[in-house]
């Protein structure tokens, strides 16, 4: 263990980045909240806000240890070992490299756990009991998020050991496998267990407030600079690369989604622009610091088109992933994670992050990194889907997931929260 030497610049950036990522969850509350019907806007937002409360508390008490504590066979960290309550700057691995205090790193990571939980809520809009959601959030951070974060970022089995030795070090710069593929697979599992909204596929369920969706997209984009460029844990050239890639891939994905819509439906919509933004952000996340600009452009393009097409799948297959967590986060996360196998240029770029990973297929590194990426993605998909499915079943039996059909039709805001989002005639006197 080396002595801790503070780098105020890196610390300034990480304090900022952490704040930016925390803002993403209220941003998501608007992105999601604007997309549902007016009678359930509050419930949608409450799922995000409560995710902050629950995941934040879990993280503080034992979640950080599970993810970043001493590993138990590569699978999970020791919840007591690295208890957030007694973090010592000199004790965590990144301190000597980045000069950032341990608590700042722990806080930054907390915001990731928070938003990942909140992302899932889009799959089950308008219909679930608030108490069950709270319980789910606590269980899911513990049993799904923390392990996968440990595997990938916490010195677990996707960071060192046989898989890495046999293949290569999987690259997940800012959370393609840990956050987006994970949330997408979990969303699918939940949507399957919980079932469709009454009227899904037959009644119109259009966004009640598209400006809110745009607001959410804007805040998400803003916060995502902290998410991606912050994941370098330093204010350096790689952070700059991640920043620029986060801008440009997202520009391209937005335009790509709009073009796809224009061809298919005849209109380039604002919901499409907002969705394209998020799709691009999702896809560039794992790759942000590891690809050159051309890679970012291709990733944005592929994500914009594929996600725009993927959001229709739920009607085909008949699952009600209400706000397209699968179509955007699972698909976008896969796009980014896998395209890294083609576009990674770590050799050139150089960052302590990439020691052990290889260049991509298009940069002379052969197919090994591509295979590694696919393996990491699959592990995340399978683990997340299976464990989430089991948690969801358990909660279904114990507590039940659905509000009554009457409450769903009358509006979950009134039924569950005893409130309605907006003043109406009945209040205006």
């Amino acid at each position: 263990m080396e002595e801790f030497v503070l780098d105020t610049g890196n610390t300034a950036w990480m304090l900022t980045a952490s704040s930016l990522v925390l803002l993403m969850t209220p941003g998501l509350a608007f992105f999601y909240g604007g997309m549902v019907r007016g009678k359930s806007v509050l419930n949608m937002m409450m799922m995000s806000f409560s995710a902050i409360g629950v995941a934040g508390l879990v993280w503080a008490v034992y979640g950080y240890g599970l993810a970043f504590g001493t590993t138990a066979g590569g699978f999970i960290g020791n919840p007591a070992d690295a208890l957030l309550l007694s973090l010592d700057d000199a004790e965590w691995w990144g301190a000597s490299i980045t000069g950032v205090p341990a608590l700042v790193f722990a806080g930054f990571q907390a915001t990731f756990a928070i938003i990942t939980v909140a992302l899932i809520s889009g799959a089950i809009a308008d219909r679930v009991k608030f108490g069950t959601w709270i319980a789910f959030a606590a269980l899911w951070v513990t049993l799904v998020y923390a392990p996968i974060a440990h595997w990938v970022w916490g010195g677990g089995l996707l960071g060192v050991g046989p898989i890495v030795d046999a293949l290569s070090l999987p690259i997940d710069f800012a959370g393609g496998t840990v956050v987006h593929i994970n949330a997408g697979a979990a969303g699918l599992a939940l949507a399957l267990v919980i079932g469709k909204r009454k009227g899904f596929g037959t009644e119109p369920m259009r966004p009640h407030n598209l400006p809110f969706v745009m607001l959410g997209a804007g805040l998400l984009w803003f916060g995502w600079f902290g998410f991606n460029a912050g994941s370098e844990l330093a204010a350096d050239s790689t952070a700059g690369r991640a920043w620029v890639n986060t801008l440009i891939a997202t520009c391209v994905a937005m335009l790509a989604w709009l073009l796809t819509e224009k061809f298919r439906d005849g209109h380039a919509t604002s919901l499409g622009a907002a969705s394209g933004v998020v799709a691009g952000l999702v896809a560039i996340t794992p790759a942000a610091g590891t690809v050159q600009l051309v890679g970012a452009i291709v990733i944005g393009l592929v994500a914009g088109v594929l996600c725009a097409l993927a959001v229709g799948l739920k009607y085909k297959f008949g699952y009600d992933d209400s706000l397209d967590v699968v179509g955007v986060h699972l698909v976008g996360g896969l796009v980014g994670t896998i395209l890294i196998g083609f576009f990674a240029t770590n050799g050139v770029l150089g960052s302590f992050y990439f020691e052990g990973s290889l260049d991509g297929l298009f940069y002379g590194g052969g197919a090994t990194q591509l295979v590694t990426q696919v393996v990491a993605a699959l592990m995340s998909v399978v683990y997340s889907f299976v464990v989430t499915f089991l948690i969801a079943l358990l909660l279904k039996v114990i507590a039940g997931w659905r509000v009554t059909e009457e409450d769903e039709v009358g509006g979950i805001d009134l039924a569950v929260h005893g409130e309605s989002g907006y003043e109406t005639i009945t209040e205006v006197r």
Partner: protein, 112 residues
Amino acid sequence: MKLVTGVIQPHRLDEVKSALEAAGVRGMTVSEASGYGRQKGHTEVYRGAEYTVDLVPKVRVEVLVSDEDVTAVSDAIIGAAQTGKIGDGKVWVVPVEDVARVRTGEHGDAAL
């Protein structure tokens, strides 16, 4: 001519529209309303203060019909709007002395 007005549960609007189409109605006017009656409203709580909202959301459907269609049309609305629960609403009929189509200036049954 008559004006048949129905005040119904908002979520029955689609069914009522279909029933009216089936009954040969080619036009109607719809608007938002709030009802007060046997159906209870609800209570909202904001920072511990309770607000009783005793008006419940309704939709008003108005259909101008010729005299001979009155019963068919009111029955169509009643049939389609009925759920059997308190708050299903009312349908009433008012005499109309004249109807005109703005576009053409036609009057009477031709304007329907």
